[in-house]
């Protein structure tokens, strides 16, 4: 099967620091791929490199068979990749509705329909649509962040630690939402420290350690893997 996104041996970092060194991964159409690893392994850097927020120093990135690296973030979004960043990065003094509509930048024609979809996924946001995003709870803010990404009608949705700082019941709800989003055919690249949960809902996974992919494979293989059990699942 041909890949939707193919990341091939990329190197990226900040100043003298190299956070990702020769990492490769791919996301296939319609699947959920998990990128797991501990804090500081380079997961966020990978996503930023794919989004064009950070230039890569080596390697290449292709999306739907076309070169992606070197494009500015605005072009990457236009190609069909939405990034739901770590820390949500909402517009706190703007309303929920404004936050969502701003996400529709490249898919304005579908705005009304996308909004309806986001509200059906997250009914809470419909109630709160005139509320300022900065006044929402952490879980609601995460819903806005995901909703804002969906408004771009991407082919690939990339999420950076959507479970961070949320109560377990909310984490479960958000992950259920991701499965539902994926059922509509949208591919997802999920970055998580919450390894067990992330793998459980994914089709395949990659393990990033010190900026390198040390292990990859189908979910069940990874869940049964001795190294993963010992290092990430604590059993």
């Amino acid at each position: 099967m041909s890949a939707l996104l193919r990341v091939d041996g990329i190197e990226a970092g900040y100043g003298d620091l190299t956070a990702v060194r020769g990492a490769s991964l791919e996301v296939r159409p319609g699947e959920i791929a998990a990128l797991i690893g501990s804090n500081g392994a380079g997961k966020t850097t990978m996503l930023r490199a794919i989004s064009g927020l950070l230039p890569i120093r080596r390697g290449r990135i292709d999306f739907e068979g076309d070169r992606l690296d070197g494009l500015p973030p605005s072009k990457v979004v236009g190609r069909g990749i939405a990034h739901v960043p770590e820390g949500r990065q909402l517009f706190p003094s703007m309303t929920v509705l404004e936050n969502l509509e701003l996400g529709a930048g490249h898919a304005k024609a579908l705005k009304a329909e996308s909004l309806e979809w986001v509200f059906s996924l997250f009914p809470r946001l419909r109630e709160r649509r005139q509320q300022l995003a900065g006044t929402l709870s952490g879980g609601e803010q995460q819903m806005v962040a995901i909703g804002r990404g969906l408004m771009a009608r991407p082919k690939l949705l990339m999420l950076d630690e959507p479970s961070l700082g949320l109560a377990p019941v909310l984490v479960r709800a958000i992950f259920d939402n991701l499965v539902e989003i994926n059922r509509r055919g949208m591919a997802i690249l999920l970055v998580e420290q919450n390894v067990l949960r992330a793998l459980q809902l994914s089709h395949r996974g990659y393990v990033l350690e010190n900026g390198q992919i040390v292990l990859d494979g189908p979910r069940d293989t990874l869940l049964a893997d001795g190294h993963i059990k010992q290092a990430y699942l604590g059993r």
Partner: protein, 290 residues
């Protein structure tokens, strides 16, 4: 001292407040979006005044009409300054940004001195000397026009920022520039437009004010200080704060001129500033930063 005199002073201040608001809104917008303090703000204002002055002198265009042209001219200047200079120091430390903007201020001021000379000017307006009595107080028609037009300009800016796609993107970038990058906004273009609009505001203010108050190339720095003062009083990053702060400071200065002596009117706005910094450092409408 009587009530009528105070009422007259308050009314004069209120009507003058429109231009103060416009100045401060321009400065606040630039700061809010780019976190750069436009220390050339007052000098840009003086350039707006000169454009209005010469349009009136050579072509007989009233400043209450030409202020739109002055806004357009200063928008262009703002775009040039942002693209050519400010863009290069966005990631630089604050002291470098301050030095650059001080440099721009010096160049604009001295360029005005070389081209227009040091003389104090005032733009002729057909409404310059008209007054209307309103019960016991009189309304200076030029001031009233200034107020109404500054208000209309601010309202147009409000509608642009809250109702148009580009305006929403500017507010989004001011709120969270990284977030704006993430959603695929062209942040470079947003910065350029925002700086241009900030300069257009102060250009319009300069044109309107040039019919009320004499100006010269040296007047710029004082206007920068007033604008900055208003923005801090109103609350950094709050456009509503800048707008209401402008009116508040203008009224306070006008009352101060009557209650104290006219030359001490700035004292009032600085006392206001000190009080705000002491008791409400985030400004009247600013948000507390954690």
């Amino acid at each position: 001292m009587n009530v009528t005199l105070l009422g007259q002073a308050a009314l004069n201040g209120l009507l003058f407040g429109g231009v103060y608001s416009l100045m401060a809104v321009g400065l606040s917008l630039i700061f809010g979006v780019m976190r750069v303090i436009n220390l050339a703000h007052g000098d840009m204002m003086v350039w707006g005044s000169y454009v209005a002055f010469f349009l009136a002198l050579r072509l007989g265009v009233d400043p209450f009409v030409s202020f739109l042209l002055c806004a357009a001219a200063l928008f262009s200047l703002g775009v040039l300054v942002q693209r050519g200079l400010v863009n290069r120091v966005l990631e630089a430390p604050h002291e470098m940004q301050i030095l650059l903007m001080l440099g721009v201020a010096l160049v604009l001021e001295n360029l005005a001195l070389v081209i227009f000379g040091p003389d104090t000017r005032r733009t002729e307006s057909a409404y310059g000397l008209e007054t209307v009595w309103l019960g016991p107080v009189f309304v200076d028609v030029a001031r009233l026009m200034t107020f109404v037009l500054a208000l209309a300009f601010s309202l147009a800016l409000y509608l642009f920022l809250f109702r148009s796609d580009l305006g929403r993107l500017i507010r989004a970038a001011a709120d969270n520039s990284y977030g704006a990058l993430v959603i695929g906004a062209d942040v470079g273009r947003i910065y350029t437009v925002a700086f241009g609009i900030g300069a257009a505001c102060v250009g319009a203010a300069g044109a309107l004010m040039s019919a009320l108050v004499p100006f010269s190339p040296a007047a710029g720095f004082a206007q920068t200080v007033v604008s900055f003062n208003i923005v801090i009083i109103g609350g950094m990053g709050s456009l509503l704060g800048a707008f209401l702060g402008g009116i508040l400071v203008a009224v306070a200065e006008s009352l101060g001129a009557v209650l104290l002596v006219p030359s001490l009117k700035e004292l009032v706005s600085f006392v206001l500033l000190v009080l705000i910094l002491l008791f409400r450092p985030q400004g009247l409408f600013g948000r507390k930063t954690a």
